[in-house]
Amino acid sequence: MLLKLENLSKSFGGLKAVANLNIEIGQSELVGLIGPNGAGKTTVFNLLTGVYEASEGKMIFAGKDVGGLRPYQVTHRGIARTFQNIRLFGDLSVIDNVKIAFHQHDKYSALSAVLRLPSFFRGEEEMESKALALLEVFHLRGRAAEVAKNLPYGEQRRLEIARAMATEPRLLLLDEPAAGMNPQETRALMELIRWLRDNFQLTILLIEHDMSLVMGVCERIYVLDYGMIIASGTPEQIRIDPKVIEAYLGEEAI
């Protein structure tokens, strides 16, 4: 098991946003987390990445407890994420966005940067070539010098994934990666997600409302409603689960 959530709960005052969550995700699995708006999906991501502290329960990642860590420490452990409302470094260039995510693996100190020692130039060169290679993979290399906020929406979403990949994660959390994409872009995104998983032995947990994407790429799905898991299983099982149809999918989806 790469990730194991045990009885994870989060309350905001009297409101239980997430209650007694139990999720297990194995290495290289591609898992979906779906549910109606306000079900607590993003709260789960925020708990996992240390933005919120859990009220109760345990989070075990790669055999170690990651509860109570600050967000940057969680990232250092190998969990990266994208955001539902895109949070790029808007005024910076595309390549600088990626370089910032490489920072935790930096090879030179602030002192050698100030003195412009050889290690600075080596480190910067390595970062530049790694960043360009990554942008190449995401078809963004031609945009490297562009200011991030000027990219079209779909490319901003892709840049967010590229940036998350630059932290060299073992688990990637995607929060509505297809939001605002047209059907073609969504299909390309599905290809990309599969490719990422196969190429990097990456484990992916994604939140998504676009059922074609969820049913198309996820091997297992957890369904969340009012902070609780109401169903889990393969896409085929989820599609016909009466509780899921009632709470989320609706009659038409059958």
Binding site: F89, G90, D91, I100, H103, Q104, A113, G123, A164, T167
Partner: protein
């Protein structure tokens, strides 16, 4: 060599010409006192503005107590040079180190605050520093502290150049990018593995260090330092320079510092108009160019180098 590309050589040449020209003019007694005082003040304010820009512009932490750190540098260096009879270099360095230390201690708890709260806290710190020196008889209290003039053009000029180079090199590195990412989006920066507290405190301490250097230069040139010199108005003045030049732009801060110093020098005969002109300048600025003279951009000599070279430098 990457450091010795055409662009950097051109800058080095310009710096040497600026230094040599003015030094020769001073040696030939062509520079009247009014100009030499203002040349010195330009150096002091360039250091203050670029270091405050590192905190406010690059890292996005709104500090309005920079004169407090200038005061620490000024008084500490004065103590070392007058009371302990230390050499000038050691005096300025001691002032800067103590200033950075205070910056670190203050920054650790206060940089958890954001926006207005941080501004109010830094304002308070500046006031506390001023009040402490007011009430310390060892350094002359309100009457002031007399310090012999040991700083000359060479000291002021090269310390300014070194400060600019260090701040520039820090900003244009992965550590500087980490600071910028905190300004751009703190939540995303943390999610990308950036320890935001560490970089805020680092920028704040480094900014305080250079604030201390500027204070040391000032104290050892002006014959007399008084707590009132380092009031809120001075902090505000430095902030105006940074905002005028464009938050986040180092060259902008330099331009802002030069413009404001020259302006207040020429308006010193009309003190009642000085504030009016400053305020009008700011209002016009905010109406027509709210991001400052240079925005977050840098004025650079990239066109002198080969294409693409300016990025790597």
């Amino acid at each position: 060599m990457k450091v010795l590309n055409r662009k950097n050589l051109a800058i080095l040449l310009a710096v040497l010409v600026a230094y040599g020209g003015i030094q020769a003019a001073i040696a030939a007694r062509l520079v009247p006192p009014f100009y030499s005082v203002n040349l010195m003040l330009i150096c002091v304010y360039v250091i203050l503005a670029t270091s405050l820009n590192l905190i406010n512009g690059v890292t996005g932490q709104f500090s309005i107590g920079h004169a407090g750190f200038m005061a620490i540098g000024a008084y500490l260096s004065a103590i070392v040079s007058v009371k302990l009879h230390g050499p000038l270099g050691a005096a300025i360095l001691a002032g800067a180190i103590v200033s950075a230390g205070v910056g670190f201690l203050v920054g650790l708890p206060t940089l958890r605050l954001k926006g207005d709260y941080l501004a109010i806290t830094t304002l308070g710190v500046g006031q506390i520093v001023q009040v402490v020196f007011f009430n310390t008889n060892y350094v002359g209290g309100a009457a002031g502290f007399t310090v012999p003039r040991t700083v000359n053009w060479t000291w002021a000029f090269w310390l300014t150049v070194i400060s600019i180079v260090i701040i520039h090199n820090f900003t244009n590195s992965t550590h500087g990018r980490a600071c910028i990412s905190v300004r751009e989006n703190e939540i995303a920066a943390e999610a990308m593995g950036i320890n935001s507290t560490k970089y805020k405190v680092m920028a704040f301490s480094l900014g305080s260090f250079f604030g201390g250097i500027a204070g040391g230069l000032y104290a050892n040139y002006m014959y007399l330092i008084q707590p009132t010199t380092f009031s809120f108005l001075t902090s505000f003045n430095i902030l105006v320079m940074v905002v005028l030049g464009g938050l986040g732009s180092m060259t902008g801060s330099i331009v802002g510092a030069v413009v404001m110093t020259v302006l207040s020098a020429y308006l010193s005969n009309f003190p009642e108009w000085r504030m009016v002109v400053t305020a009008l300048l700011l209002i016009v600025m905010m109406l027509f160019r709210p991001s400052g003279l240079l925005g977050t951009k840098e004025f650079n000599l990239g066109f002198l180098g080969k294409k693409g070279e300016s990025r790597a430098a």
